[in-house]
């Protein structure tokens, strides 16, 4: 055998000390098990006495990510609403990974949850997972992001009305720049919902003769990349009057670029989302307005839809939640701001 040639590298070269090591590793295993046990003890006792009454139905939720406060707020709202309605919610995070989300849905199926709510990590890839849940007879709902696979059955989709939100942002922009001038859009066309926002914005702005959209450039949906895009736009258009950014991080990037260029006040910024930092910027007059999304309403409504479904009521296949404009007057009365 080859092993004879290389005696020093046989994988079983350890001998006498192994018992101690085994003990050590064994102890570690016990500690790990105890740690998990501690985690489980916080929950209800696993042994429930048999009764005719079925246990609390569980709703499995897989959110896109929990790193973004938007989804955290949505998840918390689901938790609260479910508790009020006698459901238990399990919230998992797909961490933006479609394969991870697939695993979570499989776990939900083998756990036999009553219903599943998803924020798809990928609108196409999620289709196979939803089909599997369909086959297992578990109703699936989507929140915030839609499934685009036509062969998958989704009971109901609950999301922001992004098109109307874009229109609202356009109205704020018209007001901000006094009905005439040049505006730019910081875009992120990779995302379906963002396309709806810019379409809504353009529809309203396009009807105003004295306003022209001079640029529509991708800003990556993030503050640092939007900052660079805004710098380029400001450089090219010294007479720019306003910037519509498709989300608040992009808007804050634009604000930073305007500040750096020393054109604060001359270029008005309208964002989308309603994140705390953007609200603060509106209060300080750095941003004009933002088209507010309500993740809490999305969360609450998705649980409501699940409850309605099980009560045998009609559930609309799509519910769009309108955005609201948030301006300086709102910020001044907002107790959550400094």
């Amino acid at each position: 055998m080859q092993g004879a040639k290389f005696p020093a590298i046989r994988p079983d070269r350890f001998g006498s000390r192994e018992v101690k090591h085994m003990r050590r590793i064994g102890i570690l295993g016990v500690i790990a098990a105890l740690a998990l046990g501690a985690v489980s003890c916080g929950k209800e006792k696993p042994h429930v006495a048999a009764s005719q009454k079925p246990a609390t139905p569980v709703i499995g939720v897989s959110l896109l990510t929990l790193a973004n406060p938007f989804f955290k707020v949505m998840g918390d709202a689901m938790q609260a609403e479910a508790k009020a309605r006698g459901y238990e919610v399990v919230i998992t995070s797909a961490d933006m990974d479609p394969a991870r989300q697939k695993d979570q849905v499989k776990d939900f199926i083998s756990k036999k949850v009553a219903a599943i709510i998803l924020c798809p990590a990928d609108s196409r890839s999620v289709g196979t997972s939803i089909q599997e849940a369909n086959q297992a007879g578990i109703p699936v709902f989507t929140a915030d992001i839609a499934c685009l696979d036509k062969s998958a059955r989704v009971v109901s989709h609950i999301a922001t009305d992004n098109f109307a939100g874009g229109k609202l942002a356009a109205e704020a922009m018209i007001e901000a720049i006094g009905g005439k001038g040049k505006v730019a859009i910081i875009d992120h066309p990779e995302v379906e919902s963002v396309i709806l926002r810019t379409n809504g914005f353009r529809e309203v702005i396009g009807k105003v003769k004295d306003i022209s959209v001079v640029a529509q450039l991708p800003g990556g949906g993030m503050r640092d990349s939007a900052f660079k895009t805004a710098q380029d736009i400001l450089e090219k258009h010294p007479d720019l009057d306003g910037i519509f950014a498709i989300n608040d991080p992009s808007a804050l990037g634009a604000v930073a670029a305007i500040e750096k260029a020393g054109r604060m006040g001359r270029v008005k910024v309208v964002g989308f989302d309603g994140q705390p930092e953007a609200k603060q910027a509106i209060k300080e007059g750095k941003m004009y307005a933002t088209s507010m999304q309500y993740p809490d309403k999305i969360g609450k409504l998705s649980i409501e839809s699940v409850a309605k479904y099980f009560a045998g009521e009609q559930v609309p296949s799509e519910t769009l939640i309108p955005t609201g404009l948030y301006k300086k007057a709102d910020a001044e009365q907002d107790p959550s701001l400094k």
Partner: protein, 438 residues
């Protein structure tokens, strides 16, 4: 003491896996009622044990395989003794059926339902809706103890979930045994998945032939293998640390995936393509799991029985000694990085097949899970030692923890923490063992 001749980690990691399984079996023990055919028969027998059968029974289930089997079995058992009506569908459909049934006749109705359907709030809302229905009786099969973890479907589920990570970990084990690391595998999963979907799309899309599918998969795996060879070449030719070289390739592969897919998901693939990742050709073993077991067996034989395997251990154990005894270090390294690339390519093809689409966002952070599986499995990050089947155990430990915590309703943040602690614990053990044996 030389008699059980084995690695400490190889002995105790399966023990830890066993303990974890036992723990989750206990922790996910719940009262669940049987569903499907079994449940239908059980509830019918319960009903038949009564002194007087109700004049009419409505048997209710969801319109899925499980629900249909339940309703079929219950109706069959009850039909000779009383009037049996059936209702299959969503709660809303069942509601209109109940309305229809109660409108016809005014005799009290008894409902027999699947465990899922008997939990519907429909029943309480029906009771509240009309005085006729106030005493509506709903009977489901009675609950008995079952473990959500230790069920055949869930165990298959665990194996299926980890197959991709475990397959990539075969290549990573070899790389780490040589003392290297391959950070590019996650991006290669994305690239391979995108390349597969892209090739299928350009060879007929949704109506592509089986030959085209095979060619597309082979092409994507070969592409990943080539990138692996390139990493290996850069590492050996210019003596660039593997960490840096594969970190760069991670970016390159991710970039290529985004370019090829133009930032979008490619989904024009035929349904037949999903049979690779979702089908079950041998018994009821998912194809991905069968492939994983096959790859592990081959890799194990190669590492233990062949000269190539010996060379891999030799290079990691002591490169200088290996060189002096005539082992070509460059060729060995080239080989392991090629294998690592190929395995990541296979993982990408399986992922694309399971999700019926290829997206550049796949494979995010996979390199870390793969490395964790290898290290938890007892392979030392300093090279020279490790076992292929140890890695399989490591991968399963991670899979079982992830699955078990999901079944136990552990919060997402806590899950991350626990998984991290387990990985840290394994590395700690590795360190302690090293210090002792040094």
């Amino acid at each position: 003491m030389r008699t059980p001749k084995a690695f400490p980690a190889a002995v105790s990691m399966p023990a830890i896996l066993f303990l974890l399984c036992a723990f989750f079996t206990w922790a996910t023990w719940t009262e669940g009622a049987p569903s499907g055919r079994e449940g239908g028969i059980a509830v019918a027998q319960e009903m038949l044990r009564r002194d007087r059968l109700p004049p009419r029974i409505l048997v209710v289930g969801g319109d899925d395989a499980n629900g249909r089997a339940f309703v079929e079995a219950a109706c069959e058992a009850l039909a000779t003794r009383t009037e049996v009506l059936r209702a299959l569908g969503t709660p809303q459909q069942v509601r209109s059926r109940v309305d229809q049934v109660t409108a016809d006749l005014k005799t009290p109705l008894v409902v027999v339902a699947t465990p899922e359907a008997s939990a519907w709030t429909l029943w309480s809302s029906l009771r509240a809706s009309a005085p006729d229905l106030a005493s509506l009786e709903v009977l489901g099969p009675s609950a008995r103890g079952r473990s959500a973890f230790l069920s055949p479907t869930n165990l298959r589920n665990v194996a299926d979930q980890i197959a991709v990570i475990a397959i990539i970990a075969v290549g990573m084990t070899m790389v780490i045994i040589t003392g290297g690391i391959d950070l590019s595998v996650g991006s290669l999963v994305a690239l391979s998945a995108v390349a597969t979907a892209w090739l299928i799309r350009s060879m007929g899309g949704a109506s592509a032939s089986i030959g085209a599918l095979v060619a597309a998969c082979a092409g994507a795996v070969a592409l990943s293998g080539l990138i692996g060879v390139f990493s290996g070449a850069v590492i050996t030719a210019f003596r660039i640390p593997p960490f840096i070289a594969t970190l760069a390739m991670m970016q390159v592969a991710a970039g290529l995936a985004f370019i090829l897919a133009r930032g979008q998901t490619i989904y024009d693939v035929p349904v037949a393509f999903t049979s690779l990742g979702r089908g079950e050709a041998i018994a009821s073993l998912p194809n991905a799991v069968a492939l994983m077991l096959f790859i592990y067996s081959c890799a194990h034989v190669m590492m233990v029985r062949t000269a190539t395997g010996r060379r891999i251990y030799a290079v990691g154990g002591n490169a200088e000694a290996a060189r002096l005894s005539g082992v070509s270090i460059a060729r060995t390294l080239l080989f392991v990085y090629a294998v690592s690339g190929l395995m990541a390519g296979v993982g990408g093809v399986i992922t694309a097949s399971q999700l019926k689409a290829g997206s550049p966002t796949y494979g995010l952070m996979y390199e870390l899970y793969v490395i964790a599986a290898v290290v938890v499995g007892g392979t030392s990050l300093s090279g020279g030692e490790g076992r292929i089947f140890g890695t399989l155990v490591g991968a399963f430990i991670i899979a079982v923890i992830r699955n078990g915590m999901n079944l136990m309703n552990v919060e997402a943040y806590t899950q991350k923490g626990v998984l991290g602690l387990v990985i840290l614990g394994a590395v700690l053990v590795d360190r302690l063992r090293r210090r002792r044996s040094a």
